[in-house]
């Protein structure tokens, strides 16, 4: 299991290649990649701030919940911090299980929790200035599906 933050851009494909390598019993790998949207020029740069140490530990608790709930062989969470340009990946989550239902559900669950509860502070730098973003009502509703 791995939970990492990175200031540098990353390639989700390279992460998937490494995550799937050598798995002869896994059967199913689900992934999610979140990409910064340009929103037709409305957002130039996204700035994500974490609390190093604390943020990884809180995400690790979410990961442990997923492991308790589904029979997973492995999972990984990689999250960008700092300045992120449109088109760059923000988050990559991968789950490995014997069967696809567990892999899909755990990946979906991890994303819902990351989007609504993970300790990040997010600022959009757009043509109309800067603004801090909070989770949307949809983000909260998505997360509440798992209660």
């Amino acid at each position: 299991m791995s939970v990492r933050l990175t200031e540098a851009p990353f390639d989700p494909g390279a992460e998937l290649t490494a995550f799937t390598a050598g798995r002869t019993e896994t059967g199913a790998v689900a992934t999610f990649t979140g990409i910064a949207r340009a929103e037709a020029g409305a957002t130039a740069i996204l700035e994500l701030e974490a609390y190093p140490g604390f943020t990884e530990a809180e995400i690790g608790k979410i990961a442990q919940q997923a492991r308790a709930r589904w029979d997973l062989h492995d999972l990984m969470i990689l999250h960008r911090v700092g300045q992120i340009a449109p088109g760059e990946p923000i988050v990559f989550v991968a789950t490995a299980a014997s069967h696809r239902r567990a892999a899909f559900e755990a990946c979906d669950f991890l994303m819902d929790y990351l989007k609504s509860r993970a300790p990040f502070w997010k600022k959009e730098h757009g043509p109309d200035g800067r603004r801090w973003i909070e989770p949307t009502a949809q983000d909260h509703a998505d997360r509440d599906r798992w209660d």
């Binding site: 994500l48 609390y51 993970a118 990040f120 502070w121």
Partner: protein
């Protein structure tokens, strides 16, 4: 001298991210910060602001040592 960290909009409001403050409790630390900057003092007590001492969330008052790290965490954006 506790180390104080501000995140997100609190950092923008205060104009600083990290400071050393001489305080032996969280309550003392908050009054010192509020005495210096009333807007920040109000924001630190605002809705949804959590406080972590040495990376663990605390509620109410807490003693601080010279090595304590105090983080004020405004509502999180998610990833």
């Amino acid at each position: 001298m506790a180390r104080v960290l501000l995140f997100g909009p609190l950092r923008d409001l205060a104009g600083w991210r990290e400071r050393e403050v001489a305080a032996t409790s969280l309550a003392e630390l908050r009054s010192l910060l509020a005495a210096e900057d009333a807007d920040l003092g109000a924001a630190l007590g605002g809705k949804g602001v959590q406080i972590a001492v040495d990376q663990a969330i605390v509620r109410g008052d807490a003693p601080l040592t010279t090595r304590s790290e105090v983080a004020f965490l405004p509502p999180m954006s998610g990833g």
